[in-house]
Symmetry: C2
Subunit: 264 residues, 2 copies
């Protein structure tokens, strides 16, 4: 039962389901839920939430325990500030982290905890590098993922496209979403790996407006400190990149202040 | 303990780790491992494997139970053969499935079970649509993911590129991998969402040769029945697409025979 619940975060399972699966009485299932909840909360691994009424049941809400989240993000900062990661043009090599499922489940879990209360119906990201972290964020939220494509090459039927300016390149680019991928009137959490000027994020906000979708939040793994005025105002990043100095081989990267303020 | 083990498939945890975490004797941890193993195997959810010696410990090996895997793939086939999924050009709309984490964790788990014994060191995929399923396959295998880029636009330092012919388009395309993303002499599992001619998969095989990396296997979610002679010979697909008839609004899609033959 622990395995099933923990493998499907935020998915509601009825007591009947477990009662059938394990061929035991509902009262026994209830008792077991109590024991599992006590264990999960005792070790701050998460919580079981009981939903009453028809369509009700029990679901697992993973928790990012405050201290260990801080420690984890700090250790990520340590890894990422290795000078050998500096790439030509002042970029930072981080694909090994952003494509490692063991890191992703942790990063996605932290982002999900941050935005769980905003109740997003789906996660939106922009291909390509944002996809893995967005998958794991959506997994932790128990909701689907939608990925916007960059070049307008859509083979998925009618689509909506907008033009946007990526602040880093200052070029006009196109961003598209298939019409059938999104339901009107829902709520989206925007997730991406990196934010500099915020042009891509603002493009996603504009694209969502075309679908009459509300933005439940914007979460990124790393945001640069400069420019301070980004093209979106309300976003949360796990880490803040202050400086990449190619000459001096120096990287300044620190955990975001909200990681200390908002515990889950 | 169940939560930790199940959330980190194929990752080895030492008894000391659990003993410290729960502040209990190793003998108690051992007993608990026995109970968890019994429960997992009784409900065919997976197994705990104990590794002796230095660097040893216990790990969770998720199992795709034969009957339920077949049932699951059959239900996927049912969903995907809805005529409304037919797109212009005889394509099939399946992004809602391939980007839904709840489906992905299942699909990735089945692919991982299929190739676990081939002991891959990492999963290789090609951007973009293969990434989500590859993330979850890598997650279930407990190994990292590497994604090749299509257009040769690499901002991640020195890279290796090859040209390949995507059988469907008959155009020469470029596929690239950053040098630092791969260690020589390792083993790769190639994962993708869709295979028609096998040109992309063969491209990945060729690219891996440049890195002196052995191919541990090729796994795709859907492969077309035609052409029968694909550009790679040894691959496993979960489903076989026989026909998409735009005129008659008919889709023929069936589970792969190996799902019945090879149980895990």
């Amino acid at each position: 039962m622990t395995r099933i619940l923990c493998s499907h975060p935020n998915q509601i399972f009825t007591l009947q389901y477990f009662s059938d699966l394990f061929q035991s009485a509902k009262s026994t299932v209830c008792e077991d839920i109590g024991i599992i909840r006590d264990t999960l909360t005792a070790f701050r691994l998460g919580d079981l939430e009981t939903i009453a009424g028809a369509g009700g049941g029990v679901k697992f809400v993973p928790a990012a325990e405050k201290e260990s989240t801080e420690e984890y993000i700090r250790s990520l900062c340590d890894k990422l500030t290795d000078p050998s990661r500096i790439l030509p043009g002042g970029f930072l090599y981080m694909s090994d982290i952003l494509f490692d499922p063991q890191q992703l489940i942790r990063i996605g879990g932290i982002l999900a905890s941050r935005f769980l209360s905003a109740k997003p119906d789906f996660v939106l990201t922009m291909e390509t590098k944002g996809i893995p972290v967005a998958v794991m964020t959506a997994f932790a939220l128990g909701c689907p993922l939608v990925a916007a494509t960059r070049d307008g090459q859509i083979t998925e039927g009618p689509s909506v496209s907008i033009n946007y300016v990526a602040a880093s390149s200052r070029r006009i680019q196109t961003m598209s979403l298939p019409k059938r991928s999104i339901k009107e009137g829902t709520r989206a959490l925007i997730v991406d790996d990196f934010m500099k000027g915020g042009g891509t994020a603002r493009g996603m906000v504009q694209l969502l407006k075309e679908f009459n979708v509300e933005v439940a939040g914007i979460g990124v793994v790393i945001a640069t400190k400069e420019p301070r005025n980004k093209m979106v105002t309300d976003y949360a990043s796990l880490m803040i990149l202050e400086e990449v100095d190619e000459e001096e081989k120096r990287i300044k990267l620190s955990p975001s202040p909200w990681l200390y303020a908002n515990s889950v």
